[in-house]
Symmetry: C2
DNA sequence: TTGAAAGCGCTAACAG
DNA sequence: CTGTTAGCGCTTTCAA
């Protein structure tokens, strides 16, 4: 049924090795041979058996992209760019949801999923124990995001700086009462949570320490969470005149809350998001956003993988990807 | 370095076969054996070599999800749901961009990507020749979308009915001049393009045949394409009072165009989209949308795959997934 | 119920 | 430059 190298070899009247050489573009094959083999390859419709190749070489050519959920916020464009970057560097991408496995144990528990050359982890925060589990398996792991681990390769955005930049942007447009939406409830108290840290730091530097309750936790990262948090903020006596949202999705929810509360954006309140989603570019008003370049992140991550596969014992590399503020209508200077 | 079945067997003092039986939960193993083997498995940190297993069994446990682009519109929620459905049925998902391969030939040309048990194709329209290429490889192919092919399994939405429903919905809210945004330029003339067909049919039945130019082609499926098409429509003498957009993304672009043109939605013009994206639920105004349930689509598709793998020669199955209109602000009855 | 051995398709070491 | 061959780790007859 399926054509093997041997079939092709027989058909072309050459040895298996030669066919293999042709298939893999190895040198030291005469043009005449190459031509003949190519012909046989085509005639028989040869398709390489990846499993056999993998068994022999130890390389699958597969990268696992492990994320909480493909559509999780903060991931805008990342999946696409990882697929692109991986493809262009000769890998294919297996998408895996964190903790999704009903059958086998979830990757979060067992460490690296089997059958891949490396794992890209796009989860913030990194589930506890995951890094250790990986380290035990020996499969290279690259962290993508804002939180890191000194023991593995990572390409990350400086969340503290990014949040501070967002605050400074709002201050520059004349805002004084700046709130934040998007702290993870479980981590709200951890002072190290990078964005909250940056938010507080920037406000302190500006002499604008926020009142209690200005940092709103959310359950999940959905429009409605942003909406609810914003409604709550807008109902306060000391209503904020600027809101930093930890994703564009939350920010769009906040925009709607402002409208429902009869507030004008940016007149009464400015809103800034994270992630530069397409949605934010077409919301009303259009949304200012802080973002890194997902294509860059993805390329760097895949490059890290190849480097790691070449030298498994090199010390971990940490790459910091730049971020930028994309100013749009939602933060136009007031007045 | 890596632990093999033989290592475990030696460690437990049993044969390879017995270890294999335990790993695969085969019956006919005494409890005592099982216990001892389990222990050895754990102690040595055994991890099965998927490549070897695949080479032997012919099954990779991998499904390729081939799409134009992970973030392509019309795919809202599909990738996530395919990953979920596949996981729960024991598969993993390799995401492949159509024609993305810079190295090897793109899957659109060579047929099925190698090393997967089946291919799910989420591309509308299906690239010409792709189905033939697949058929030649023998890898099962399941089509997801609105266009189909009688030669392979498919789970699809009735695009003609869906578009007709959208038009009827607008008519019911009192609209008379109904335009459409989203015809693919290359196919604009093909009368079979299902949505355009449904659009025209429903209008004809309502005695509201559209004037020339009311069907706007777009280059891609982005906000700005919807925006531009809508601006053009709104600048006409016979400005439409209802617009059917072939994706939510286009529709959100159209909403913005309406605002920029000084038109109120739904007062002056109603807008309806396709896909029930989260974005449409939080746009201003919120967007009415026609959609199928992506989770259902995905589950059916994976079920089709397993059925096909069990009986390769069964006749192709076609499943039609239901769709529904989710009425929101953008199509509230006028007046 | 368990063990021994063959072989899936491929690559790489070695021989010619 | 080309051919022969061993063996990657696993499943699975077949025999005990």
């Amino acid at each position: 049924m399926t054509t093997t190298l041997r079939d092709v070899a027989r058909h072309a009247g050459v040895s298996v090795k030669t066919v293999s050489n042709v298939v893999n573009d190895h040198p030291h094959v005469s043009d005449e041979m190459r031509r003949r083999v190519r012909e046989a390859l085509g005639a028989l419709g040869y398709r390489p058996n990846l499993a056999a190749r993998t068994l022999r070489t130890g390389r699958t050519g597969l990268l696992a992209l492990v994320v909480p959920d493909v559509e999780a916020p903060g991931l805008h464009g990342l999946v696409r760019e990882v697929v692109r970057a991986a493809t262009s560097q000769g890998f294919r991408v297996v998408v895996e949801h964190l903790g999704a496995g009903t059958g086998r144990p979830a990757p979060s528990r067992s460490g690296a999923p089997p059958g891949v050359d490396a794992v890209l982890l796009g989860a913030d925060p990194v589930p506890p124990g995951l890094v250790d589990a990986h380290l035990r398996t020996g499969t290279p792991l690259v962290l993508l995001g804002e939180s890191g681990d000194p023991r593995c390769d990572q390409v990350c955005v400086d969340g503290t700086r990014a949040a501070a930049d967002a605050v400074e942007h709002l201050v520059r447009t004349g805002r004084r009462r700046i709130a934040a939406i998007g702290a993870r409830p479980g981590l709200a108290s951890a002072p190290a949570q990078p964005r909250i840290l940056g938010y507080r730091r920037a406000l302190r530097r500006a002499g604008l320490d926020p009142p209690t309750g200005y940092v709103r936790p959310i359950a999940e990262d959905r429009h409605e969470d942003g909406y609810r948090a914003a409604r709550w903020l807008f109902a306060r006596e000391d209503r904020p005149d600027g809101v930093v949202c930890h994703s564009d999705r939350l920010a769009v929810g906040a925009l709607r809350a402002a409208a429902d509360a009869g507030l004008r954006v940016p007149g009464d309140v400015a809103v800034i998001g994270f992630g530069d989603s397409a949605e934010g570019g077409y919301s009303r008003p259009t949304l200012t956003s802080v973002s890194a370049d997902p294509a860059l992140l993805a390329r760097e991550a895949v490059t890290l993988v190849t480097a790691r596969l070449d030298r498994p014992d090199a010390p971990p590399t940490r790459i910091t990807a730049p971020h930028a503020i994309l100013p749009r209508e939602s933060t136009r200077p007031a007045g």
